[in-house]
């Protein structure tokens, strides 16, 4: 059970090709929905013209004027309209203006192209600097979507006294989640008992987010909306917030037409209009004493939040809390801002702000080590957090934390010292291939930041079934990460039955409680813990009611459940999140326990750079992490390997090219993700240090592997090539060539 590599629950259906993803669901008589978008980054919508040669009377058309409830997507801040109406301001190039549906999808596509929008263009703000300059104000009165200050001590008096002060600026680009299944929604809206009943089936991470968005869009009660999560072809955050938008669009078309509607994005549309990782700019200033002890840290952390707030406030929050990383520092000032631009809003992507600020810090420390004439390993070791130390938010480390041990393990596994010595010699030779090895040390906060878990107050449960098996009741979705399997293992462990006796109920808001969104590395640790409680209560109830006598065998447990169900009918037991007594957080001051715990890691990379082509090959990679008790080693390793692949992609290849606020490389042909040829075999090492708050001692794992690869790889590039201005990812061949030329041109 816990600790075993149980086979993926839905794996058999996946290898047989019988798993039903959204677009696979058979829905006779369905119309095909399409979206007409603005194409200009900013302006006033003046008119919609319907071109000739299209039988428009056969089409279902939805504009903002049709919306029955509130034309705002329910989110952290309700500022994003589902559709822009006549006379309203268009704020990014992919803004939805008109929805259309027809039974013939080829004709629907022809119709989309026949629509012409009349837009009075306005000056647009397209990047972080122009947003900060405030020459054009596009959001509120200062273009700020969110601003956060975190303060500890007072850095100001330190700068003048410190032996060394090092400043740097670091940038990271947007990144596409590139789930292989594009966004997809189906909807049926029909009358039931004299009222509307809205149902959406989709590829979505957070059924109750979509549920809330549909309620607001139509002005309906809880019972009138139903959201079902279909098998999901990857998400990585890309199906966290966006499904509230396209789910709403599908439902609007279904409502207006009275027919089932399929709204399946093709890849080009998905890439152009859906969320990405936030581009960032981080300025760091650090003071050290003569021995390299960190005395003060100042971080100015900025995210490009796009045209609406969406999830930017919470992405910014995680990025800000992670900005001081794993280092002890008495004086810290973090100023974090998410700024508005006229670009499609970025959103959630594995890591959620932390990869951006951690990239800056881990690059910066290598540069500090060079400038201080210290070893990058020893500089970090000198400043690591230990038990009893206080983080920037005032959070005290209460666990037995050994970052030095984690780092040493990773460096030994990749052969760091030997390789450094060897490459120092071989890189002197004339050949075009230069090699380097580098690393990063980092953490990832498990679960929501701050009071998030208290606000959601998640509920999850278990249900006895007539055949004596037990079903997990949770709104947490399976996106490939292994939730079905891990939840079953946790429940099976608590009930002391084989994992085969536990299954997962379909994730349908009519049937499962709100266990919160499937995000933030929270499912195993937070929802798993609630399930442990629920399963424990379930077993106790069986014993108290006389159905089960301890000790029992799996067969007698099965018989007891079957008998209880036959006798009592429905047999469900729920658990709910309770904030642990020793955790507190202040949303205003940003002081307190930002997370209940953290996962900790050191990643090391070896690179080979070809100075003829400026291509970079990652030749070796080691990922050492402390993630509490590992529930399923094979699935956990799969999470790490996949996250590392995405992190390497972000560091080296994956570039979103924008022109006039629109992604222009919105195809798989020219947005490059790693293929099987591009990645090394990696060593994944788990150091287990059970966390008291998680089920069976588990912590969060999903996002952690996204944080470390980019700085490790770029640090390795510096080792290979020397002191270039390696301050940005992705470090594409073009960018690397530029950086090399900067040096050769002085």
């Amino acid at each position: 059970m816990i600790g075993a590599s149980s086979i993926r629950k839905e794996g058999r259906a996946k290898v047989l090709g019988t798993a039903i993803y959204t677009d696979d669901k058979f829905m006779p008589g369905a119309l095909h929905g399409l979206t007409v978008r603005s194409e200009v980054p900013r302006g006033i919508l003046r008119a919609i013209h319907f071109g000739e040669g299209i039988p428009w009377d056969e089409f279902t058309l939805v504009t903002a004027a049709d919306i029955p409830g509130t034309n705002l997507v329910a989110s952290v801040v309700d500022d994003q309209p589902f559709l822009i109406g006549l006379g309203q301001e268009i704020t990014h190039s992919q803004q939805a203006v008109l929805l259309l549906a027809h039974a013939d999808r080829h004709l629907a596509e022809k119709a989309r192209r026949a629509v012409r929008l009349e837009i009075e263009e306005l000056p647009a703000v397209l990047d972080i600097q122009s947003s900060l300059d405030l020459q054009t104000v596009i959001y509120g009165d200062n273009n700020l979507l969110k601003e956060i200050h975190i303060a500890k001590g007072d850095p100001d008096p330190v700068w003048a006294q410190a032996a060394h002060v090092v400043e740097g600026e670091y940038r990271t680009g947007a990144q596409e989640q590139m789930y292989i299944e594009p966004n997809a929604m189906l909807s049926v809206v029909e009358p039931r008992d004299g009222a509307l009943q809205v149902t959406v089936w989709g590829s979505l991470q957070c059924p109750y987010y979509v549920h809330g968005a549909l309620r607001q869009l139509f002005g309906l009660s809880e019972k009138q909306v139903r959201v079902v999560a279909m098998e999901m072809g990857g998400a990585f955050g890309g199906k966290e917030d966006y499904p509230s938008v396209n789910g709403g669009h599908a439902a609007l078309l279904a409502w207006k037409s009275g027919r089932p509607v399929r709204l399946i994005y093709d890849r080009e549309e998905d890439l152009a209009c859906t969320t990405k990782r936030h581009p960032s700019r981080t300025r760091l200033r650090t003071a050290f004493d003569a021995e390299g002890t960190l005395l003060a840290l100042e971080a100015d952390f900025i995210l490009d939040g796009g045209a609406y707030a969406t999830l930017s406030p919470v992405v910014l929050s995680r990025g800000a809390v992670h900005a001081a990383s794993v280092y002890r520092c008495p004086h810290v000032r973090i100023h974090a801002r998410a700024v508005a631009t006229n670009t499609p809003p970025p959103g959630a992507f594995r890591g959620f702000g932390a990869p951006q600020s951690l990239f800056a810090m881990e690059r910066h420390l290598d540069i500090c080590a060079r400038k201080l004439g210290l070893d990058a390993v020893e500089l970090r070791r000198k400043n690591f957090l230990h038990m009893g130390d206080t983080m920037a938010t005032g959070q005290v480390i209460r666990e037995d934390l050994d970052l030095g041990g984690i780092m040493d393990r990773a460096l030994a596994a990749i052969g760091y010292r030997d390789k450094r010595a060897a490459f120092a010699l071989t890189n002197q030779e004339d050949g075009p291939i230069k090699r380097g090895v580098g690393f990063s040390v980092f953490m990832h906060g498990c679960g929501f930041t701050g009071n998030g878990e208290s606000h959601v107050a998640s509920v999850a449960g278990v249900e006895g079934l007539a055949d004596g098996t037990v079903a997990v009741l949770a709104a947490s979705t399976e996106m490939g990460q292994g939730k079905n399997t891990v939840f079953a293992q946790i429940v099976a462990e608590t009930l002391q039955v084989p994992v085969e006796q536990v299954e997962t109920a379909e994730v349908d808001t009519d049937h499962v409680p709100n266990s919160g969104p499937t995000v933030a590395s929270r499912s195993t640790m937070m929802v798993g813990r609630i399930l442990e409680d629920a399963a424990s209560g379930f077993k106790q109830a069986l014993v108290q009611q006389g159905f089960l006598v301890e000790p029992y065998t799996p067969e007698s447990f099965r018989a007891a459940v079957a008998k209880a169900v036959a006798t009592l009918g429905t047999l469900r037991c729920y658990g709910q999140y309770h904030r642990p007594p020793n955790i507190s957080w202040n949303d205003v001051t940003y002081q307190g326990d930002a997370y209940p715990t953290y996962s900790w890691a050191c990643y090391a990379a070896e690179v080979a750079v070809d100075l003829d082509t400026f291509e970079v090959k990652v030749a070796d990679f080691v990922a050492v992490q402390e993630v509490g008790r590992v529930v399923n080693p094979t699935l956990a390793a799969g999470q790490i390997e996949g996250g590392v692949a995405q992190g390497i992609g972000w560091g080296l290849w994956e570039e979103v090219t924008m022109q006039r606020g629109r992604m222009v490389n919105n195809q798989m042909t020219n947005y490059i993700i790693p293929t099987a040829m591009d990645l090394p075999r990696m060593q994944v090492i788990f150091l287990e240090n059970a966390h008291v708050g998680g089920p069976g001692g588990a912590k969060g794992i999903g996002e952690l592997p996204m944080d470390g690869p980019a700085p490790a790889v770029v640090n390795a590039l510096e080792n290979a090539l020397g002191a270039l201005r390696l301050d940005e990812v992705p470090m594409t061949p073009d960018r690397l060539l530029d950086r090399c030329e900067e040096v050769s041109h002085g």
Partner: protein
Amino acid sequence: MADRIDLTLKVNGADHRVSVPPFARLLDVLREDLRLTGTKEGCGEGECGACTVLLNGRVVNSCLVPAVQAQGALVVTVEGLAEGENLSSLQAAFLTHNGAQCGFCTPGMLLSATDLINRCPHPSDDQIRDGLSGNLCRCTGYAKILDSVHAAAAEGRAAR
């Protein structure tokens, strides 16, 4: 131009006759006319490989194959890999070794791997990487997929 064209093709051993729009793709015929939805569409431009099938024994991206070219052809999709309840050795290995995470690339990956093992029964890491380089996976970093293919190859029989 005719509104529809008539085609006959043999898919996973069964004969089918379909009437499809002239510009339909093989992918559309499989998914919409035959309702074999195991074959996925990830990009529609031959980059991701999620729609990979075997056409007359050759690996193709079915999103790039005009249906008319499948006239009289033998097609194998993911639904044709198992024999009844018995998974092919590759399917079993992908299940055991976590070669499938979200599962969306898996059908195409399995077809490419089947073709690879048929051509090269004991492939090296590099041969597997080469053989699967047309199939993108965003979940696994490919490590568990390599493990799965090695495990199936080690069983010493072709995946069929």
